[in-house]
Symmetry: C2
Subunit: 477 residues, 2 copies
């Protein structure tokens, strides 16, 4: 196997290398579309399972809406079509004939879903209506990069309708909090939340809340968004309900989503020179067991003990894989599973068997004296649980520390701009709110990632006029 590029010198190439070496994805024949191989898809399934449960706990129900959307639907919301037009894939022919009206392959489903809401919502008693969809979407992106920007991706998109603006805003924020907690607690990635500037808002939204994370090269990654759509779609799709006073009014809507981009965030936050690192709570495999033996008598003894340990771990719900490959040496296996980022490796050989012990190896521990631990077989489940727990926590702490190292406060663009352009990082500065000042960060290839609640800076980073709000500026994926 090819050696991975240096993660510190060429992060972008390391990213490509690690995806190939870990058999995570494969190029497809369609530009910017990738095959999610079983190991990767299993990570997505684990993400889905937890997130789906949390979304349902908010009173949201899953449903499924058509993939193909009439082009005319798409044009009903002016800002929406303006934002998405350049990215649409269009079906013009079907069943051997040219279609009367072209059909757009959904890039997002607001238009389809709100056209249905118009049929389903009649009275205030029908509200709030909370629907979620797990689906594939297609956006024809110019420059693609696996998970971060792809022609097709998988996601969940939530769409809700509420009685009034206040309720819609509260719900959009509830989802933002749900995303933040999920990303921090399960993916072990520290999150900053904030509001997007007008130019970075979702096409058709009144307000976009986002969770922003900092990758280990100091660039930001937007990992999820929650939009207050307010009346934009409910008016263009003529959704009306009778309120308690008997008047016909439009509901206030929200939409929100996270995508397979979360996977890119995991890789770019936790990966290291040896390969991927999977956070234990969502890892496709939490423990890989490597049996070690030379003679056939040893093999039988070891394998029967391994089978016993596997059953015991699986009984308690751990995700375990036993590597029985008889072509690879144990050393080659260690290497293989390190690249795939399995958090805990368990080794068991004849000498361990004599001592009724196994060796547990911590994927992320750098200190060689602490990397391995010898554990009594009788205590395996508890020790594995403790080690997975420790790794989950350490990953988050490590990422948090690194993020703090990248966080700076600054005042004037000409002072921090060159450093930002050269070494990335996240800059908290003041902003007067003008789009002209916002545009100036592009000189250094950066964008405003989000507006903060705080107002520590008195003057705008660009024009030096009075600042309205603090903002975070960074280069972003």
């Amino acid at each position: 196997m090819k050696k991975l590029s240096d993660i510190n010198r060429d992060f972008a190439q390391w990213y490509q290398d690690v995806l190939e070496a870990s058999e995570f994805i494969d190029q497809s024949p369609v530009r910017g579309s990738f095959v999610l191989r079983p190991y990767c898809y299993s990570l997505w399934e684990n993400i889905q399972k937890t997130l789906d449960k949390k979304i349902k706990e908010t009173g949201t129900e899953n449903a499924y809406f058509p993939l193909l959307i009439p082009e005319s639907f798409f044009k009903k919301e002016a800002k929406h079509v303006e934002g998405f037009s350049p990215e649409l894939a269009v079906v013009t022919h079907a069943g051997g004939k040219k279609l009367d009206e072209p059909l757009v392959v959904r890039p997002t489903s607001e238009t389809m879903i709100y056209s249905m809401f118009a049929k389903w919502i009649k009275s205030w008693r029908d509200l709030p209506l909370k629907i979620n969809q797990w689906a594939n979407v297609v956006r024809w992106e110019m420059r693609t990069r696996p998970f971060l920007r792809t022609t097709e991706f998988l996601w969940q998109e939530g769409h809700t309708a509420h009685l009034d603006r206040e309720e819609a805003v509260i719900f959009a924020k509830e989802i933002l909090e749900l995303y933040k907690n999920f990303v921090q607690d399960y993916l072990a990635i520290p999150v900053i939340t904030g509001v997007k500037s007008e130019s970075e808002r979702f096409a058709g939204a009144d307000q976009t809340y986002a969770i922003e994370c900092l990758m280990q090269d100091g660039k930001a990654l937007q990992m999820g968004t929650s939009h207050v759509l307010a009346h934009s779609f409910s008016k263009s799709f003529d959704i009306k309900f009778q309120n308690k006073d008997g008047q016909l009014v439009s509901p206030y809507c929200t939409s929100w989503g996270v995508t397979t981009r979360l996977i890119g965030g995991i890789i770019m936050t936790h990966g290291d020179q040896k390969g991927l690192v999977m956070p234990p709570k969502v890892a496709p495999i939490q423990v890989v067991i490597i049996p070690i033996y030379r003679k056939d008598e040893e093999k039988d003894l070891i394998l029967s003990k391994v089978e016993q340990i596997r059953n015991c771990l699986e009984h308690d719900g751990f995700r375990v894989f036993v590597d029985l490959d008889d072509q690879l040496t144990p050393g080659a296996k260690f290497f293989k599973w390190e690249v795939k980022g399995v958090p805990v490796r368990m080794e068991i050989g004849p000498k361990d068997l004599d001592k009724n012990q196994v060796v547990l190896v911590n994927r992320i521990e750098q200190d060689k004296t602490k990397k391995k631990s010898f554990v009594s077989i009788d205590m395996v489940n508890r020790e594995v649980a403790n080690l997975l727990d420790k790794i989950q926590k350490d990953l988050f702490e490590k990422a948090k520390e690194r993020m703090q190292g990248y966080q700076h406060k600054a005042e004037k663009l000409e002072d921090f701009g060159p450093e930002l352009e050269k070494n990335n990082g996240l800059y908290q500065v003041g902003w007067c709110g003008s789009p002209d000042c916002e545009a100036r960060v592009k000189e250094y290839k950066a964008t405003i990632r989000c507006l903060l609640d705080s107002k520590e800076n008195k003057t705008c980073f660009a024009c030096s006029k009075s600042s309205k709000t603090d903002i975070l500026v960074a280069k972003a994926y």
Copy 2:
């Protein structure tokens, strides 16, 4: 709400009516594409969950492949393209430009997946390779009907590669058995398995095995297929591996799938004049609780007991819904949940509370003296479990009995054809194997559903020559 059409007089209209009345699906603006509303999608999630587990137990792993397939890929397998061409939806424009090569929206993923297998399979050690995908597919059908034939549908498609033909055939049959057991044990629908005639085979398959079910109007529904593709795709996509003797040879492939059509099968097998009937094992809601009260003091007492019962049932994994709507009368609620086919209704009012009991109502029991049972609150979980179990079994027995009533043995087409055309049903006859004789069943709007292993009939139903095998003839959806 509109009354449902008579299920015995106009089954097709009843089917449309019941789908609307139960808020199961909705028409979308795209011809033949339907919205799966939450209650319906929840049924699909339950089907998916069990089936996914069973598929994984065969050693098959999930993965995800791109939606859009280059048109040229599609043309590599001659029979495949011939079979699917009339049904393709084609993306010709994307990102505001005409594409150099049109992209087909996948109607099935053989071409995409086997192009990947060609990269992944190098040695006999890579086999068997077993991959499954849960996805949406698009087929531009002329006449559509919800779940049975739709422009877009949801499904799982399994694709495997094996060392030799024998292994591929064994695996294709293993999946057929898995489908049969799932449909019988979970959906409570009796299944007949058999082989398809050449003209009814999947485009590109060597052999197609199918599970066939008989709907309550006596028409057959193919509910799942498992194909031995043998060398067709492995040769067109140049999949080669080094066998144990060091030679480069092609693997033998299989593909297999079930779709949201399963939902149509459930409705057309179990539904009745009152509405849908959901088999307990996959029912979105297994128990609906209707609290009954008049005064406010009653309400508090009843609702606190209901909450206690709900928690107790949910703790044991039952899917429960409490109908707290304060606009509908209890009677209107009974009606509503009968239409939706919830298997068990629980009623609890002040008099029941006094007696420490609840009323359980069996959705499918016709005998009024047996329909209701009074159950001590202390025994609720056990009694609910027993009743759900009984309903699951009764549904299967009822469907089996009805199917047997529709099964006939016959000899000559002119004798049974008119009766088949008029009253539907399933006819077991002999067949010489000639396509000309096969074509003759079309005179009575029927098709050969499958070939059987038996050979009870000596002569062909059409030409009276010697019969090679028994077949089943029926009209089909």
